[in-house]
Subunit: 403 residues, 2 copies
């Protein structure tokens, strides 16, 4: 029986791949001074409805629980973050640099290859208005990608300034209720014929298409780009006003990372959302962040031959060649484990030695220890499963720190 | 705003505590040759209803999704394991030694301190009928507790044999439909007055109470106890036929670990469930496993002063004493991070040096690097935040492997 449509089973190999990604995420975020937090996978529906983004509401995995509460599986972690920070913001020194690796959910019409869950690295900086915070967050995303072995030849950060567009809309007297459609038109401009985009943009079409093609001045982007260049990431970004991010709550610098070939959807993206905490949690605090999912990243790494190694390994497999020494062998297994060695053995009594050695290799053991009558006098056969070399060694030598 | 009733927020300190527990779980399970897997947090309701345990069904966090599917947040991982193994059991060498750390859910009437979610270490051995597998699983549980610094003075495994009771029920001609009540009576016998237990047990009362008080012969328990003793765990268990495990699917050795003072609920428990895979997934495979939750364990560790350390630390905090060298400081920050150092800095421009050093200490940095005009000639002030000693050092010396 398969899992529910859109959900993944993680067999040991896939689980090791997932965990290897988590491990890189965690390690780089920690190196940047971020600390990990998490929230519940289930929240009140209200928490998500408060947040304007209509796109999200229609894709929520929401339901009514046995207590008649309207609840939803989290589609993203930012509302939870806003809720948590509103509750205890006085307890933390600003800026907060927090990261999390939640599994998030959406209910979409099932399509081939479209999942209803994925894991997402979330890195947010709260309480810091300066553009250096934007740069810090983007630099972290770049270093996460570098940690997987990707370089500026593989990916590019498309940097944009949503506030630039807001300023333009205000200057051109575009009423606020039309902004959403405006951002949608820009967002889709890459994938739609120019005629259609022109039609949507109306009188602003010439000016906007000019900016999309040729760029524009932005002191905010200048500052962020300068900081990224100082950090050595000058080759990792390009200015691109097409990027506006779908979600309505972004207020400043926004960006997305893409692979250079354009073969995949965005690898990650984020931006500044200075008004969201006030709107959601009642605490007025500048904020920004990014999210990076495990699915597109995993596909990209696989395509580039950079998927982290997931081999399961053992230090020792104790093969029992003589059942009369099984108890001595079990004592040895325990001593090896106590010494921190990853150790397995043949549980089934009377398994043939050849079969035990096969299992040892299949489990990724580097060495087999063949337990025979010599074990009673403190010696064992140590077999290198790669070279097939074998020698008699004192048991004590197996317990040292050198495996 | 708090989270939903019965759900936990993990602020950085709590998250670090949670992760420290996960890390010990993962490390010991891996040392025993177990490999990690995971399944979806949401499964079809049918998967749980198939499994007999009526107790669980009434506590399920189930609902109907937007596609009219009857689904449930997983109350435990075993049905998922059975489903996954049934699907691909031919791909894996037996025995399978698999572990997972799922978050599991139940919908209970909200009570003070009762949660609706917790994390649970699950360790299962599939495909191995011998009692050595039972011992291996119990030894793992013991070593997990030892890895947290607990000893046989702190906890005891109460070992029992459910098959012994089944054999007795058959020998005494008790019809199968009465077995559930029988096991319930034994399970509750510790907490209920003897009169009540006698009443429930009827004609079997004398015999059963005698066994509960004085024990009984069991070759199965002899074998498991012998293996645990050989492994050095002779002081960690006692035979106790009161333990029957509530869930209907256990078939052989069953056990629970308790703290010696009896102050807490069971720390963990498990047993053999040889029929479950056949019933659930259609694959006939012997199996056993245990579950250990994070909540009782966390309370016990706290009470014994053994909660894992959760201090957030940084290798360096770069304090910028002179804004004219900010870009040089940012280059240094990047170099430190590239060298694998956990490094943070004052993002806000113009923060007073004293305040930056306070932040450095609050963030758990061991050293502050004070960046002033000297940085342009490749030198910085290195300040030990514990001793308050300060000395001028070449920047290159900060990038070495010795922090």
């Amino acid at each position: 029986m398969p899992p529910l449509t859109g959900f993944r089973d993680f067999y040991p190999e896939e689980c090791a791949g997932r965990n290897a990604i988590f491990s890189v995420w965690r390690s780089v975020a920690t190196r940047y001074g971020f600390v990990e937090y998490d929230g519940p996978p289930l929240e009140s529906l209200e928490l998500y409805q408060k947040k304007s983004g209509a796109e999200i509401a229609s894709q929520l995995y929401n339901f009514t629980d046995k207590g008649e509460r309207h609840v939803a599986l989290r589609p993203e972690l930012t509302p939870t973050l806003a809720r948590m920070v509103a509750e205890r913001h006085r307890d933390f020194k600003k800026p907060l640099k927090w990261f999390a690796i939640p599994q998030v959910f959406r209910y979409e019409r099932p399509q081939k290859g479209r999942l209803r869950e994925h894991y997402q690295l979330n890195c947010d900086i709260l309480g810091e208005p300066s553009l250096e915070a934007d740069a810090e967050n983007i630099a972290l995303a770049i270093d996460v990608l570098r940690a997987f072995g990707l370089t500026s030849d593989d990916f590019v950060i498309r940097l944009s300034d949503r506030q630039f567009w807001v300023d333009l809309l205000i200057a051109r007297n575009v009423p606020q209720e039309k902004w959403y459609d405006f951002f949608q038109a820009i967002d889709k401009s890459e994938r739609e014929p120019e005629e259609k985009t022109r039609e949507k943009l109306g009188p602003l079409a010439d000016e906007v298409l000019g900016i999309l093609a040729n760029g524009a001045e932005s002191a905010r982007l200048d500052a962020v780009e300068r900081s990224l260049t100082v950090r050595g990431f000058g080759a990792c970004y390009k200015r691109d006003f097409t990027i506006v991010r779908g979600l309505a709550y972004y207020t400043g610098i926004v960006w997305e990372a893409f692979d250079r070939t354009g073969q995949f959807r965005a690898i990650c993206g984020g931006g500044r959302y200075d008004d969201l905490l006030k709107n959601l949690g009642g605490v007025d605090m500048p904020a920004l962040g990014f999210g990076m999912g495990d699915v597109v990243l995993g596909e990209l790494l696989k395509a580039r031959g950079k998927a982290p190694a997931t081999a399961q390994t053992l230090d020792y497999f104790v093969a029992i060649a003589d059942e009369t020494v099984r108890e001595n062998a079990m004592e040895l297994v325990q001593k090896l484990r106590d010494a921190g060695k990853r150790t397995d053995f043949a549980i089934a009594i009377g398994t043939k030695l050849g079969k035990q050695l096969e299992t040892a290799s299949a489990r990724g053991a580097r060495h087999a220890i063949v337990a025979d009558a010599k074990l009673k006098s403190g010696e064992a056969e140590l077999k290198d499963l790669q070279t097939r070399e074998q020698r008699t060694v004192p048991v004590a030598s197996l317990l040292g720190v050198v495996a």
